[in-house]
């Protein structure tokens, strides 16, 4: 029995040994493959150079070597995210040819873009004429930190008649966001670090509002932004926000302002902005905020130090009421005071104007020396009639609805340039949209713009009926067919198609515009 048992044991060992050898032989190629790609620790394979996709950067400060392309130890927590927005409009402005019409010319002329006073950096901006825009957000992160890279364009090459590098920005933002929920009890901290924008004075509930203009200011630069929220009991929320940003560089001395460089001005110094904000929220229904921002430049390289240092100080206050079935209401007041601001670059945008030079071009005047003040009040109210009438039943927007919006803005300018001093500007409008079918809605918008209340000839009105197609009630897409008619005063001035465009009082604006805009957001 023992011999038989030993024989079985030997036979079993033999089979196991052979099986082991067989499995070992089978696994040899796999081991060899693994040896080429990665060792058991997950470290990259040893090679004589760096892989082609390795970032072309030095070691990070502190000597940390980023393990690019390697799996994180807590890989399962990390995820990739992709969001975006695009709107691409076909636009045509209709007009009659001025002067003699030859036999091989048409009397009717078609303009793209339309020749109308609708410029984002001017007070006359209504956003009635849709602008091309595409943005792709790529994010990777976990519950604590997320890296985001944004590719942005205000153009599409296939539809462009010339190459405008500033409109094809490429990577416009690249930043990290840290979410720190448990530093202090009943608090939440969010920290943004990198290159990004902050916007304050936002009239819409989820967007920049009907005028597409951050009423207090927008910052653009590299730096940080800390948002701290503290729960004060069960009903109140204290919101404290701070940020410092600077520009990555300044325009080189000797550069000639041109379209390809975004009309870079070597006389503008490298700009910085510091901003502080405090707000109190009540049960998610109301938020009152106070805002302080100062942007400045103190750069001796700006025109060999002969340009005075400039600054733009901004104070703002806003009230937002998110009243559920009673709608959304927003009111804001802002005061921007510029002192020799011509040397302040695009680190800050006041009413969509870029830095001090933009303020001078659109509000303060060329002879202001960059000194002056803008006092602005604005408001917007949006109401869903369907939601109001169905209250207290919940309404998710998946049925016919009428949405009404009223909005307005007033700016008073004080300037060292007499021609621009003591000028009041007013614009207001109303829009009503009726969503009748899941795929069809209509809308009518009326705008009135008075760029100078002391000169009624500059005023104009716009009426814009629209037909809106989309894939469903709450779809994230729409195709809008729009007609707009301008009722222009005799003193309405539009810009020519120069480089850069300049106001030309001899041009007769288009009065009729048709557009077809495709938009989607995800």
């Amino acid at each position: 029995m023992r011999a038989i048992g030993q024989t079985r044991l030997r036979r079993t060992r033999d089979i196991r040994l052979r099986a082991l050898l067989f499995v070992g032989l089978l696994s040899l190629p796999a081991q060899a493959d693994d040896a080429v790609s990665q060792d058991k620790t997950g470290a990259p394979p040893i090679s004589l150079g760096l892989a082609p996709g390795t970032p072309q950067v030095t070691a990070l400060p502190g000597g940390l070597t980023p393990a690019y392309g390697q799996l994180a130890a807590d890989e399962s927590e990390w995820r990739f995210d992709f969001h975006g927005f695009l709107t691409m409009p076909l636009r045509a402005g209709f007009n009659q040819r001025a002067g003699t019409v030859t036999s091989d010319q048409h009397s009717l002329v078609l303009h793209a873009p339309p020749v109308v006073p609708d410029y984002p950096d001017a007070f006359t901006y209504t956003s009635v004429v849709p602008q091309p825009y595409a943005q792709l957000n790529f994010s990777y992160g976990n519950s604590v930190v997320t890296g985001t890279v944004i590719v942005l364009a205000r153009n599409a090459a296939t539809a462009s008649s010339y190459t405008s590098p500033p409109a094809e920005a490429g990577i416009s933002d690249a930043f990290l966001t840290f979410q720190l929920p448990n530093i202090v009890k009943n608090s939440h901290f969010e920290i943004n670090v990198g290159v990004f924008t902050n916007r304050y004075g936002i009239m819409g509930e989820y967007d920049e509002g009907r005028y597409g203009t951050p009423v207090i200011a927008q910052t653009n630069g590299a730096g940080e932004n800390i948002v701290a929220k503290f729960a004060l009991g069960r009903k109140f929320l204290l919101d404290i926000e701070q940020g410092i940003q600077g520009q990555l560089d300044k325009a080189p001395a000797g550069i000639l302002p041109s379209g390809w460089n975004g009309f870079a001005d070597p006389n503008a110094g490298s700009g910085f902005v510091n901003h502080l904000h405090a707000g109190v929220g009540y049960m998610g229904l109301a938020t009152f905020g106070l805002h302080y921002m100062t942007a400045w430049a103190q750069d001796d390289r700006a025109s060999q130090g002969t340009v005075p240092d400039g600054a733009i100080g901004i104070l703002g206050a806003d009230l937002r009421l998110s009243l559920g079935h009673l709608g959304h209401f927003y009111l804001v007041a802002s005061r921007a005071h510029a002192i020799t601001a011509g040397s302040v670059g695009g680190i800050v945008q006041v009413l969509n104007t870029s830095g001090g030079l933009g303020l001078m071009a659109d509000y303060l005047g060329p002879n202001s020396g960059g000194t002056g003040t803008l006092l602005t009040f604005a408001g917007q109210y949006d109401l869903s009639i369907g939601r109001l009438l169905r209250y207290p039943r919940a309404f998710k927007g998946d049925a016919p609805d009428i949405v009404v919006s009223v909005f307005g803005m007033q700016t008073h300018v004080s300037s060292n340039d007499a021609a621009f001093d003591n000028v009041s500007k007013v614009k207001y409008g109303v829009e009503a949209g009726y969503a009748m079918l899941p795929w069809l809605a209509t809308s009518l918008r009326l705008d009135r713009v008075e760029p100078n209340t002391g000169d009624g000839r500059q005023s104009f009105s716009v009426v814009s009926p629209r037909v809106i197609f989309r894939s469903n009630w709450q779809a994230h897409d729409q195709v809008v067919l729009q007609y707009s008619h301008w009722f222009n005063g005799s003193g309405v001035v539009v810009r020519d198609d120069g480089y850069p465009p300049a106001y030309d009082p001899t041009l007769r604006p288009d009065e009729n515009v048709v557009s077809l805009a495709a938009s989607m957001w995800w």
Partner: protein, 393 residues
Amino acid sequence: MTFEYGNNTVTSHVKLTTWKPAGAVDWTAVGSQNFVDEAYLTYQAITGGPLRLQMTAGAFRNIYGGLGQYSVGQYNAAIIGMPNGIGETLTAQYDLDETYTLHFEDGIMGRLGKAPATDVPTADNGGANPALPSSWVHHAHVGLVRKGEIPFVLGLHYIRNWAQDERSQVDVPNYYWIDTTHRPAPEMNVFGVDLRMLDNWLGNFAVAASYADAKDAELLTGMNFFGAYTGEQMTKRFLGPRGGGTAKMAIAGFEYALGWARFLQHPLPASGAGPDLTTSIFADAASVSSRDPDFDGRVMYKFGAEVTYRFFSWLAISGRADHVVPNSKDMAETFNVISPKVIFKSNWLSHEQVTLSYTRWFYGAHTHAEFPDDYTRGQLDNEMYALTFGMWF
């Protein structure tokens, strides 16, 4: 790179393209990096029944008269036209029965803007030309599709490219033959027909023809015609600069590609995962009636053949020969090209290839390059070695 997001009804598409990756350049060519080249939505508006309706809206391009199965063909020139711009294209399909389907298509496109008036065309601004008006394209098409083992598509096409824009009527020095201070309204009408036999065991075949009537077409943008991206290219290559692009042009082309393994194995199915011999023959021809006496009466044609044999999953060899007659009024411009290649792939049907090629040109005495690279006979290289990498996904 194309990024897409959507559902069964609507999908957004955003394309980032470049023809000059920054890592391999010594200078930045403005316009070589299209961070957003195309951005558009596609809708499947009506589906499921005999009538289907699709819409494309945004910034994109359409192609008509392409001769290749997945491309515009071996000569990279759509025979009928390729509108590009911002606008919409509506496509309706109606099933007459299980075999035949009618197609209707209509689109309109414009430009986002025009080059600024005070601009001077230079490399700094990608050659922005203030003399060019903002152009428009309207196109309409009707087609009949026959489904089945050997599918066919017959199409009739009409494309109108025009402008009526009075802005920036300034004197542009390099426009010798058009008075840009009293800029005429340019236009071009293209009528086309094509017949395609879609990929089956008999191969892939396409034949197309078009007739273009152009007036001052040098000022046009928004449509690629016979491989010319702009009206200026079209004029300097085909229509004649001295006529300012006023001319009539007739074009015809065909292409036939056959996979012999699939053909010989028929009716057995062929997976493509095995050795195969692929042959392709192709030709384009055009005649011009122009206001420019140098181009008037000119006939141009070219034809060629390519044979590719795949031995292994990772290796193929190929040979191509072309005969090109750019100008019937000067046969000394004629030239020939031969181009043997070795092709490496990771698998039979993989989506990448590395190609090592040698190309030899045999020039005529007057052969020269075309606008915008106006190299003379003496400046032309006659040999080229190339290692080309490609992947599609």
